[in-house]
């Protein structure tokens, strides 16, 4: 049961050594830098030191409570990542597969829209572009919202 933020690559096998002992089902998710345009040089990830670790731990603990996980792990990188490099991973362990799948899915939806990371694509031409949040990620998160205490969105607020 741990969350880490780091610039270094992680090794899925090493993360899973001893993970989830006694569980019947282990699910992992790995996010990888993808280049849809063929013109990307790298992805740069900014985060909010201090808050990030706290948020990841909170989400992990909440997932463990909600889905009865026996173990969980979140590793998220920041800094500059090349195309094809792993960005982050989530692992969940539970007695049965549905709990492990749902918890990993739930954690990913939270991480996508509520963990304080911001992605910037660096083009081969030197241009940098902040990645926009996707409405589909917000929709995905709303599937779980009933039991959330976090504010869902500031998007409906009027300008001051």
């Amino acid at each position: 049961m741990s969350a880490r933020v780091q610039t270094a690559p992680f090794d899925l096998a090493a993360e899973l050594a001893g993970f989830g002992a006694g569980a019947g089902a282990i699910v992992t998710f790995t996010g990888v830098v993808r280049d849809d345009t063929g013109r990307m040089a790298a992805l740069e990830i900014e985060h909010y030191p201090g808050m990030t670790e706290r948020a990841l731990s909170d989400y992990g603990t909440r997932a463990a409570d909600r889905f009865g996980l026996s173990d969980w792990r979140i590793v998220h990188r920041h800094g500059r990542l090349a195309v094809g490099e792993p960005i982050m991973m989530v692992a969940t362990a539970a007695r049965h597969r549905h709990a492990a799948f749902q918890a990993a899915d739930y954690l990913m939806d939270w991480l996508k829209s509520r963990a304080p990371f911001w992605k910037r694509e660096l083009g081969q031409d030197g241009a940098a572009r902040w990645v926009d949040a996707k409405a589909s990620d917000e929709d995905a998160l709303s599937r779980w919202q009933a039991s959330s205490e976090y504010p869902s969105s500031a998007a409906t607020d009027d300008p001051a």
């Binding site: 909010y48 911001w118 300008p159």
Partner: protein, 83 residues
């Protein structure tokens, strides 16, 4: 009240600094934004579209009507893109 105000991603770029320490009497996040936006054109531009802004008070996500009493650190940033 003394507050550390942090900026991330394009908010940091538009405002031109990652953090600043300010004195304010703002009662809520929304009041604080009005206070900051009045400081100069860069702050005004950064806060022009509140729908594009998220915030955290003392490292917890908060909405714009969250009270600031007792707060020490407020962060502003665009919608998060983790994972």
């Amino acid at each position: 009240m003394t507050l550390d105000v942090l900026y991330f991603a394009w908010l940091r770029e538009r405002i031109g600094q990652p953090r600043e320490r300010i004195e304010t009497s703002a009662a809520t996040v929304r009041d604080l934004i009005a206070d900051l936006a009045a400081r100069d054109d860069w702050h005004a531009a950064a806060f022009a579209d509140l729908a594009a802004i998220r915030c955290a008070v003392d490292q917890q996500l908060a909405d714009l009507d969250a009270p600031l009493a007792g707060a020490r650190e407020v962060a502003f940033f665009p919608p998060m893109t983790g994972g």
